[in-house]
């Protein structure tokens, strides 16, 4: 995807430093860690050695203290940027009055034979500068602040091997062919260089943890790594079997999902960031650098439907194995290694994005009961089998155990899909997903894939239907309600149709869609629940995936044209490189919440696949 980026003004909140808009960032990564880079050429977010590791650059959450790695022209400039082809290799072009500078950023993936016998660091961020026209004065600012800027580590010169700083057992080595000098404090490096047309320079940040460092060479070696990384991503994107409309957006979404997949375990994290606010200056700031089981079924479905069976196998493998620690009970979220202890704490020394405090690390939601996780995991396994996957004996036994747990637990109140803090409630969506869990297990049983006590599971499934229909449907609201015996609309209930709880044309589903549109809609966007339903101060933005669910619902309801128009309006709400955050502020279109958000991109893929189905059916009929 190639897109022009307009230079947006910085977001300013009284008392806080000016921040680039959330949508001003693009992501690079190596399927282990990810960095966010602003259109001003500054890496403002990077956690190492993996997504949920401590940050080394966190200017995203505190422009003054967080740390950054900036490369930009000294003079006034405008910038445009794009990803190279179907890769996450980012190219930013700065135009100044005197010349044009091109900055290429990537986190190399070097797996082909040429690199088999070459030592590599655990992670590398490679930045290549080239002046395309005229002459450009360039400034560099390198300010590593390991451990969420809780530590101030001294930088030390290592001669021709660059500059090093260590944080406990982590080593950050910066190698560059640009002369840099230490600021008086000893923790920042700065440099200025004037380059003329054709001149190239490189900055390579290498990281190792608990091991001897590796310093990556520059020049043609660095070009080779960039080239190999591009080739790897192009080959990977080429495996996408999607041939429907909006292919660029679908592939960009799949590349983003891949970037958020932790290669070493197959886990997909919800987002690359923590504490980007759902309302500016507010308290809705959560850490999304973990894997939510709730996202599993939709994510796995999207991955498998696009032909990425290896990734799907890995994700399901992670899903089924990581939950061993707590089985048959499921925890809401796990880290990339399946760790269950994700204690939440706040980083009070960081001011937060635009002053949005607290900055949280860890996520207290892991202690909640969210019954929908059972349905999501079972649905993921069901989709996996539907795509030709085989369950082994242990996996089949595990799924049966989940079914038993659902029978035991579904009558309990829980915290639901939106993880609303405070007391548990009877969430209709959670009951729906318990129904999905038992329904799909019964289907797998009927197909001979697993053995379960079918009569008992069928009776419980029916009991859930009775509960949803009598207490989940609210006559006053004229729709299914978010909670039992209440009149609160909830966008997650749009999925009732997708999960085949009822046919799309069922009057109650149609009424529910109309109610959600009326109460939560804002043009092409949908809020997930009414303002104030989460018992937190302030107002959050519209929810991106809910908005794509509405497209999916409309397609199922036979309103493909309307769905397509809506889908195209939503596509226009992505940032200049095709990325979505969790939420969008409807009036300004500003991105809100953690970024980029896997679930939003899953929503895009699901809606596009549904549109492609409609197109295929129409083509076949013609």
């Amino acid at each position: 995807m190639e897109a022009e980026a307009l230079h947006q003004p910085a977001m300013a909140v009284p008392g806080a430093a000016p921040y680039p808009p959330i949508g001003d960032y693009a992501m690079i990564g190596d399927c282990r860690a990810a960095a966010l880079i602003s259109s001003r050429g500054s890496i403002d977010w990077l956690c190492l050695p993996h997504f949920s590791g401590p940050s080394v650059f966190a200017a995203l959450l505190d422009q003054r203290r967080g740390g950054c790695f900036a490369v930009r022209p000294v003079d006034a400039y405008t910038s445009t940027r794009r990803y190279l082809g179907d890769t996450p290799v980012l190219q930013t072009t700065f135009r100044t009055p005197t010349g044009v500078l091109q900055l290429t950023d990537a986190m190399p993936i070097l797996v082909d034979e040429r690199y088999a016998d070459k030592l590599q660091p655990q992670r590398e961020v490679l930045r290549a500068l080239e002046v395309l026209q005229g002459e450009v004065d360039i400034e560099i600012h390198y300010a590593p602040r390991p451990d969420y800027a809780r530590r101030r580590v001294a930088l030390k010169g290592r001669g021709a091997c660059g500059w090093a700083c260590s944080d406990r057992d982590g080593l950050y080595l910066l190698n560059t062919d640009i002369p840099l000098y230490l600021d008086p404090g000893g923790i920042d490096l700065r440099g200025r260089v004037r380059l003329s047309r054709g001149a190239k320079r490189y900055l390579s940040l290498n990281f190792v943890k608990a091991d001897i460092g590796v310093v990556m060479p520059l020049g043609e070696h660095a070009d080779g790594r960039l080239c190999a990384t591009q080739q790897w991503w192009q080959a990977w994107a080429h495996r996408c079997n999607y041939s429907g409309p909006y292919r660029d957006a679908v592939v960009r979404s799949m590349v983003t999902l891949k970037l958020l997949t932790y290669e070493l375990s197959g886990a997909v994290v919800a987002a690359a960031t923590t504490s980007l606010p759902e309302s500016l200056g507010g308290v809705r700031n959560w850490d999304y650098r973990y894997c939510w089981l709730r996202d599993a079924s939709l994510t796995l479905g999207a991955i498998m439907d696009l032909g990425y069976h290896t990734e799907g196998d890995a994700f399901l493998g992670w899903l089924l194995h990581t939950t061993r620690l707590s089985r048959p009970r499921l925890q809401v979220l796990y880290d990339v290694y399946g760790e269950t202890e994700i204690t939440e704490s706040s980083l009070d020394h960081l001011e937060g994005y635009c002053g949005s405090r607290p900055v949280r690390i860890g996520n207290g939601a892991h202690e909640q009961l969210q019954l929908d996780a059972y349905g999501s995991v079972i649905l993921a396994a069901y989709d996996y089998v539907k795509h030709g996957g085989e369950l082994d004996v242990d996996e089949a036994r595990f799924l049966r155990g989940l079914g038993e747990a659902v029978c035991e637990l579904w009558r309990l109140p829980d915290h639901g899909i939106w993880e609303i803090r405070g007391g548990p409630q009877h969430n209709t969506y959670s009951k729906l997903m318990c129904w999905v869990a038992l329904d799909r297990l019964l289907r797998l049983h009927a197909g001979g894939k697993i053995r379960i006590p079918a009569e008992r599971f069928a009776a419980e499934r029916e009991a859930i239907v009775q509960a949803i229909e009598t207490r989940g449907y609210n006559e006053e609201l004229g729709a299914y309600s978010a909670f039992f015996d209440a009149a609160v609309p909830d966008a997650s209930l749009l999925l009732m149709s997708r999960y085949n709880y009822k046919p799309t044309h069922d009057p109650r589903l149609r009424a529910t869609f109309a109610c959600i549109e009326r109460a939560l809609g804002h043009g092409d966007l949908l809020y997930r629940y009414p303002i104030g339903a989460d018992r937190l101060p302030g107002q959050e933005g519209a929810f991106v995936i809910s908005s794509f669910w509405a497209v999916d619902y409309l397609i199922r309801a036979g309103q493909a044209e309307l769905a397509q128009q809506r889908f195209e309006r939503l596509l226009a709400r992505a940032n200049d490189v095709g990325l979505y955050s969790e939420e969008i502020e409807p009036e300004s279109g500003a991105a809100l919440g953690n970024f980029p958000q896997a679930f939003s991109h899953v929503g895009l893929i699901i809606a596009a696949l549904s549109l492609a189905d409609v197109e295929r059916v129409a083509r076949d009929a013609a």
């Binding site: 070459k118 001669g159 091997c161 406990r168 190698n175 091991d211 001897i212 460092g213 990556m216």
Partner: protein, 169 residues
């Protein structure tokens, strides 16, 4: 030289105590790495003499390192047989000297000898990319000299104690 036939006649205890000493040394150095006290990995440094493949380097390096542990065990035995005494503190002293030699004489020249190690004069190249150790191995963490000396002192102490009955305390 007269001690060499004597040492060969005591091969079994030399191998046994060298094995135990090397295991202790490896545990201390690996433990230091795992606890974040030092990033030095002697097996990895040795292994990368032969290959740039990280996995193979660690495997080969560990084997060579074990062989090195036996060789030094033999040398320690010869030294103790030569002075006619073996006990834990003589062993620890020898180990400390061994560690000091490694830190002050071997590590500083390693960038010039190791085919995959960069130097602070020339920087990295296609082949030479490993971070050089610096003075006393301090580039690998400021506790590296301490953990290296402790590891080698323990190695020597175990050998000294083990050899006592064969050489005489």
């Amino acid at each position: 030289m007269t001690n060499i036939p004597f040492a060969f006649s005591r091969l079994e205890p030399i191998l046994l105590w060298s094995l135990i000493g090397t295991m202790a040394l490896t545990t201390i150095l690996s433990g230091s790495q795992g606890l974040g006290l030092s990033r030095l990995s002697l097996p990895f440094l040795v292994g990368t003499l032969f290959t740039g493949n990280r996995r193979r380097a660690t495997t080969f390096g560990s084997l060579f390192y074990m062989a090195g542990g036996f060789t030094f065990g033999f040398i320690y035995f010869l030294v103790m047989a030569h002075i006619g005494r073996a006990n834990w503190w003589i062993g620890a002293l020898l180990g400390t000297l061994h560690g000091l030699f490694l830190l002050t004489a071997v590590l500083p020249v390693l960038p010039h000898l190791h085919p995959r190690m960069a130097t602070e004069y020339d920087g990295p190249s296609g082949q030479r990319r490993l971070e050089p150790p610096g003075f006393l191995g301090l580039n690998y963490g400021y506790r590296t000299p301490l953990t290296t000396l402790i590891g080698h002192a323990v190695y020597g102490a175990i050998l000294g104690a083990g050899f006592a009955t064969h050489v005489g305390g």
